[in-house]
Amino acid sequence: MASLDRNKWLLLASSVGVLVLLVVAAVRENVLLEWRQVQAEVRLDGQPVPVHLRQVVNQTLGVADRCVSCHVSMAPGEQNATGPAQRSHPNVVHDPADFGCTACHGGQGRATLKDDAHGTVHFWPEPMLPVRSTEAGCGTCHATAGIPRREVLDGWSATFERLDCRACHRMDGRGGTIRPDGGGMEGPDLTRVGLTGYRADWHDAHITRAAADTAAPWRTSWRSVSEADRADVERFLATRVAMPSLVSAKSTFFASGCLGCHKVSGVGGDDGPDLTRAGEKDPGRADFAAVAGDRTLDNWFDQHTRTPTSVVVGSQMPALRLTDREVDDLTLFTLSLRRRDVPGSYLPRDRMRVSRFAEREFASDGATVFGAFCAGCHGRDGLGLRAAGVATFPSVANPDFLAVAPDALLSETIRRGRPGRRMRAWSDDTGVRAADIAAIVAYLRTAAATPAPIDSKPARWVQGDPAEGGRLFERTCAGCHGPKGEGLDAPALNNPVLQAAATDTFFVETIARGRRGTGMVGFAESSPIHPTLTRADIESIVSFIRTWGVQP
């Protein structure tokens, strides 16, 4: 019967079809898989390695990384494997056979296909870190405390170089001497010295040894080190924790004033987004419309740091006029802002000290605190910042200003801010402590070489005529400071914190002497371009200015 035969043909065709499909699937699974083909080429001691899935498992960390199925030479016990793309892992603190790969490098450890494993697929939020940003992975767990700002760190580093310590010691892959007759480095490798520590009497020990040892390096390279240099070297050594790029990137971050607007781990301002976990941003959710190059977070941050508004429409972040190296540093640091839940036994000491014992990632010296919080607006040198379309940020390191401003004015202004203006109150919730404010003030005084003014008068002593002062103000000052002292281009004089913190002497002296380098001229001096004010005129103006403030 025709219909019976038709059904038989149909059964035959579909069965053969299923068989063919199954054979294709079997071939694909058992022959064509990438890792099988990679492993087929791998040799260990000249012998082919058994072809099977390899992995690094760490149940405590929740890691099951199959990366070593292709990167066989990084598999536990197979370091000597050779073949295409086989390279053994550099000797690092964390044994890859224990920690796995993804804990540091990111990517998708469970995957066994290249694109999935490297995480460049659409649905993997944490792609592998690019090789040049590998140290960003350290930030997942580690938080080195007490990193100074760039200039300070560079100073320490320069001392280390100047003393030629690298003649004998290797550090971060550079330096050290192989003895002419073979043998190891003359001195120990200092790459991790910040973690392992060193003998406190190293200087004396060097001296003793130099006296005893006749070997050439000791004769030619060793010199005794001054007290100040020794302090620099010791502080520098404390930052050597086997992640030089990240420490360097951090120091740039703490020199660029980013914390003025961004919070990291609860410290910083809140004008901009909290960056605590910015490095975890899912590239699949970032807008790459205006970003050239690959769709990597690395690329996105790079471009965003250079010109924020070109990447995020309407961004409030100013373009910071950074050098290429600084952009690289800030990108690396932002990428390092990532977290992973690790069990307590794996939580490193540095992170513990930062998260549980309130140690901070930046050093507490005035230069660094100023660099970390203030430099974004007031400039790295404190000389203020002028940018098109943005109100001028005052030059707080101006010697003329510091010469008349008492410390109380500076610290009060930092602590309470300028309500209504960009300067926020640096209260406890920003992570700025009272000691930090004192340090900033001291730093400004040292940097500008201007001690605090000596003022024997009380805070309020001016007895001028406010009406006369008002007329004079209108004529001479209102053009810049605004008719009500609300501040146009120049600082606002009616600000309650300024009124409360500033002494009459400060006002009088500022009007009289002016502030070099700014639009404020000294009105007590005769000049063809402005009226000359007498002492009485100035006191009247100050009395007028005082009418805006709350009378004590």
């Binding site: 035969d5 038989k8 043909w9 059964l11 035959l12 069965s15 053969v16 299923v18 068989l19 199954l22 054979v23 699937a25 079997a26 099977h52 899935l53 992995q55 690094v56 498992v57 760490n58 149940q59 099951a64 199959r66 536990p76 016990g77 044994d95 056979a97 224990d98």
Partner: protein
């Protein structure tokens, strides 16, 4: 409705045209082979390609204070590591009888499950254990000691640190 002329066929008769149904057999056999092939493929699934347990090769840091002859068992591992003047060696502490974890004593090893006893070098001295405790491969390179729980070495192989 019978269309066949002549005497009506009985339902007990065989097919009028008893020929081999090549097409039918072919289709049935191809279906059977497709299903068998599918079953064979599916049966591979329960055999796990990777195990969720950590690698059997691991680095270990032997405590400085470990006295000669005393056993050091790294947490979560099933080898006992010894260090003496001749070097380092590692003895499996999985009983060769039924897989209990044996306890290291001053006289060797004792199994808590069925009372097997082993000498310090792993040789059986009593109980039902059929074979001595194997020694595991120890590799020393520089300051790192690596133990391979999957590779056995002849009893008595010690590695100088």
């Amino acid at each position: 409705m019978t269309l066949t002329p002549g005497p009506a066929p009985s339902r007990l008769d065989a097919d009028p045209m008893p020929r081999r149904d090549v097409l039918g057999l072919l289709s049935l056999w191809s279906m059977a082979s497709a299903l068998v092939f599918a079953t064979v493929g599916a049966l591979r699934l329960p055999r796990a390609a990777v195990l969720p347990s950590p690698s059997k090769k691991f680095r270990v840091t032997i405590p400085e204070t470990l006295p000669p002859g005393a056993a050091f068992v790294p947490p979560g591992r099933s080898v006992a590591i010894f260090r003496d003047g001749d070097g380092i060696h590692a003895v499996s502490i999985v009983c060769t009888h039924l897989g209990c974890i044996v306890k290291a004593t001053t006289a060797g090893f004792e199994c808590p499950c069925h009372g097997s006893k082993f000498a310090p070098d792993g040789a059986v001295t009593g109980g039902p254990a059929p074979a001595p405790l194997p020694w595991r491969q120890v590799t020393v390179s520089g300051s790192t000691v690596t133990i391979d729980e999957e590779t056995s070495v002849p009893t008595g192989t010690k590695v100088q640190a």
